[in-house]
Symmetry: C2
């Protein structure tokens, strides 16, 4: 862009980690925001270079497998998912990769239950962190301190709440990487002026009737996570 | 799900049309909401079955090409994009497909500048419609009546505003296809309790300084659309 302020230009290398049955919106929300960082290079990484199908059936082609991915990205974004994320907690190659990258200078981030993968990699011990409401308290199984916020920054780790929180976390990170005025440009480009037709976006706002239905869908989820977290301590 | 209310089950066939340099979030937002409609079948359609790269570099594998796609979907969702959408306005095979489907009983919907494609297919003549703010007034070139709302329903056509409006439009359509309580469940599943870190989501809220920057990025956009709309009238 001609006439672009000099402080708009950066050169971040940002990796988005996908795995079978991940939630596409968890990844695409922050990807929209962060890929607007002028000069940034945004790539999708998966266990292999084979197509990866999301939990709602969208099929993505990764740019890199774990072995070929840049070893020192500036930012890693890890989306969540339902049963797919629980399966990923057992994927030692994936968890080892997250742990290895997380030991460097990379800003490690997650949306939704992606924080469970950060936890399994040992990156949340003693840190304040959040997740989708269904899994937030389960973060304690990884030694984290669960926090009910839209997104939580603690040292080199930022965790977002469920699914759509990736938009808010992503835009806040855009401001942090450039400045508020640049983030305002990205916000109006996204026309991010939300008008949800209902007010049921948190368990508290949704209320007991809706939550009785939802909680019935997730019976045993915490037990499952606790069991999987034991892999880490072996 | 055991114990699921009987009126939660449907069987919609929903097609999402993608094309080179479309905006992934325009499609993935409503896809998240609508694919939660229990019993719905959600598929991605493109000009060919080759991988399609979004404007931010995400690579999607389509389920169908235009010829093999189901001919009588219940709902079609058309995302927008920047220059990619302008290129798509010249793709006669794509526009003809949209026109043909739109002459049946299908609910035709768009997010962002996807409404330009509905317009090029002749489906917005005399109808109230919206688009991304940058292209909203340009809808008049297709005989539409531009409206500044988050989403606009007029007969068998629903158009959404820019990018993130697909979440609001998608959730409202979930309520319409089932009921409000079901939509509230989907909203809390998405943890859709938006907390934008800034208040700059519309041109009015962004204000003159930010909009001076933005408008400089889109000089000539309306002229380009007007020129392309003339193809339709030949």
């Amino acid at each position: 862009m001609s006439g672009m302020p000099a402080d708009w230009l950066g050169n971040e290398r940002i990796l988005y980690v996908v795995y079978p049955k991940f939630t596409a919106l968890d990844m695409v929300g922050p990807h929209y925001m962060l890929s607007n960082l002028v000069g940034s290079r945004n790539h999708v990484v998966a266990r292999t270079k084979a197509p990866v199908t999301s939990d709602t059936g969208l099929v993505f082609m990764p740019d890199y497998d774990l072995d070929s991915a840049p070893a020192d990205p500036d930012i890693v974004v890890i989306p969540g998912g339902g049963m797919g994320t629980l399966e990923a907690l057992k994927d030692d190659a994936l968890i080892d990769w997250i742990r290895r990258i997380g030991q460097g200078k990379t800003l490690m981030t997650s949306v939704c239950t992606g924080s469970l993968l950060l936890g399994q990699a040992g990156l949340l011990r003693g840190r304040r962190a959040t997740s989708h409401w269904v899994a937030r308290d389960s973060l304690a199984h990884f030694g984290a301190i669960p926090v009910a916020e839209r997104w939580v920054e603690d040292g080199p780790v930022i965790t977002g709440a469920g699914v759509t929180a990736g938009l808010d976390f992503g835009l806040s990170l855009v401001a942090k990487r450039r400045n508020d005025e640049f983030a305002r440009c990205v916000q109006v480009l996204a026309e991010y002026d939300p008008h949800p037709p209902f007010q049921a976006g948190t368990p508290e706002k949704a209320g007991p009737t809706t939550m009785a239905t939802m909680n019935a869908m997730f019976v045993g989820f915490d037990d499952h996570i606790r069991h999987l977290a034991e892999r880490q301590r072996r």
